[in-house]
Amino acid sequence: MANIACDHCHLEFDEKVMIKDENSDEIKYFCCKGCQGIYHLLRSEGLDSFYEKVGSIKLEPPKELDSDLHKFDLEGFKNKYITQKDGFNEVNLIIEGIHCSACVWLNEKILHQTQGVVEATINYTNNKAKIIWDEDSVKLSEIINKIRSIGYNAYPYDPKLQEERANKTRRDYYSRLLVAVFTTMNIMWIAIAQYTGYFTGIEKDMKNVLNISEFILATPTLFYTGWVYFKGSYFALKNKFVNMDVLVATGASLAYIYSIYAMITNTGEVYFDSVTMIITFVFVGKYLEVLSKKRAIDTMDNMMGSLPTELTVVENGEKDIVGIEEIKTGDVVEVKPGDKIVVDGIIVNAEGNFDLSSLTGESEPVFKKSGDEIFSGSVCLDSVIRYKIEKDFKHSMLSTIITLLEESISKKPAIEKLADKISGYFSFVVLTLSILTFIGWYIGGTGFEKALIISISVIVIACPCALGLATPMAALIGINSASKKGILFKEAEFLETMAKSDTMVLDKTGTITEGKPKVVNAKFLKDFDINLLYSLVKSSKHPISKAIVRYIKDKSDDLNEYFLKNVKNLEARGLKAEYENIKLFGGNLELIKELNIPFCGDFKNTVFIFVINDEVVAYFELKDSAKEGAKKAISQIKKMGMDVIMLTGDNEQASKEIAKEVGIKKVYHSLFPKGKAQMIDTLHKQGKKVVMAGDGLNDALALSRSDIAISMGSGADVSVEVSDVVILNDDIKGLAQALKISKKSYATIKENFAISVLYNSITIPLAISGHVMPFIAALSMSVSSLIVVGNSFRIKRLK
């Protein structure tokens, strides 16, 4: 039978599994009850024009959400997220599930129709919403419920944390950029008239008019846009080092001062156009940096917003709800299945499985019992447990990770140091030379004016242009050709740092392997109804059960899910259930031993054994396999002179096996996020330059410590944000390619440096000896820049 599309979410399914709805004028098909409900709700609210707007875009079918609505009306939540404005309440939310502008329209519309809501705006770019409402007319939980009723979800974030500041910086930088671009464009056409006048002759009056207009335009650029460089130079000089900011600031302001001098005394050419161009081009790079920080902050808000704000504390047998800020060490907290652990502690009673994937990145749940430590960030999977708080919220694992990430967003030392070192030396040398030139000529008796002109021509000829272009031009073309291959370098300098690195650290799960266990061997010992197994594994969310569901679905089409009785998760062992007096068990060898069933085998991989009425009828071996092409990519990386190391949170046997398969000799296993980060620090201490590739939140910390962080596109949002390079198509071959491009770009950068140094070493002595007019100096600068640009284009030829 043919596939048809759901009339709400537009996902396509087989016709026989669809819900046929004949209530409306024409027959409609829906993939689930949720979609059907939303369709009718929108029609009854008069919002069915949503479907015209959304077109054929596929939506996410509504998820079943826990009934946690009450938490939005709790006192702790109010204190943390709700602010008061003109007698109205205001909250900032992140709306989950927005795909297109029609989704924004629908959400705004439904909120506008809600009684008591006086303002609701949603930003499509980052899915953040601001809602203002009257508390007496409607509760926040009701507003959230409205959003949920149309198939979206909302959770709060605190804009005061980072966003307000980031927004302000972004707006400020954008204003400065606009001013710079405006003045540069205008100065350029005036400069054309001036250059023409230089060759064909120009009246003195006319030249003055042009000079003065250039002066008027250059002034705001230097002092408004260029202010960041003056500020940067001030802090650099205060801390006794010379950086790129100093170079840009002195180059631009000396050219500016000289031009004013030339304008007033009519003694030569003005260089106001150089002033604006230097400032503008370098400022574009700075602006891009600010933009990427803003995106990182959006992700941080996402993470914090999904955390609960209150916990259930048990005291003398009575339960009480307490805000997380007020939790003290020694309190006993109760968590239910599905709850996220927010504060670190030790289990006092009961036992259960925990999903540690957000910390370790490994998909297998970990069994914990009384006396075991549990960390924030893990999720309780299957039982109600009570645990004693060991650390307060601020010192718990998850908040530590978040704080560290926040810090890493605002600093990137290794990369900045490299660029600053080169330009620092250069600008220092140029400045010294020009001062010496001035002193030399002045003592020589040429008079103050001539000495000044000559010393300034030294600075102009060595103006940051050629040197400034050497890196960005090659890098820009390198980045461009990388992005065509699905590799995203977030900043130009990362190419350089990556090319200089000598160690590649790889995470196992998700980077080298697929990250999902797969059935590698299935043995059916007896004939049995496959639907029994299907129904049993379908009842669990364990990754192994999910892998078996996938396997069965692949093998047979006609599957029915039976209604099983007494389904129970046997902690760390498996599942049990009953169906019409048939006893079903499924699990690992430990379970079989416990049931006293004679069965043995030597399994290298994780095994799932299926038992019907105390008889083993089938078993499955599961394995997380290496990505296609992993071995080849790793051998290519090794050939480029890199030392390859594997870090993983997984156990020894599993990690060594994968390492052997892909040809990695150095393996460090069973590591927590902090352990991984410590490994990177150890490598740094040995003088290594480290490139790290990872994908999970668990890698985020180590990624932020490494010199270059590469993340896989499908990985956790945070690790994508803290990384310097993103491999969009998840292909491990991209790692080798990224390295190749960075090496080639770096080689070109070095060539460019050589070219500009050659130019400077010829022209600077000429300038010092007083043979170069400032105009010729500027011309020679332009020629060297052109050659640098031409050379950089050669990177494009790399395959």
Partner: protein, 80 residues
């Protein structure tokens, strides 16, 4: 052409350009460019209905404020 005319021409055009730049900066400062998509979506979806919606929202706010004021006045009314 005399240099005076050139001066006027450059002056006027730069002034007009600067005016445009100022308008852009003002829009930026007041947060009108925070969501680039809003402009395009507005062109796509905004019609009479959306205008009515906006007016209704304003009215809703006014009504709530008015009701509150009435309540307060009642509360503090001198005993008769």
């Amino acid at each position: 052409m005399s240099s005076g005319i050139i001066a006027v021409m450059i002056g006027v055009s730069t002034f007009l350009g600067a005016l445009g730049l100022w308008a852009l900066l003002w829009g930026l400062k007041t947060g009108q460019f925070d969501d680039q998509e809003k402009f395009l979506d507005g062109a796509k979806y905004d019609g009479e209905e959306e205008l009515i919606d906006a007016v209704k929202m304003e009215e809703k706010k006014k009504n709530i404020l008015k009701n509150r004021k009435d309540k307060e006045q009642k509360k503090y009314a001198p005993p008769d």
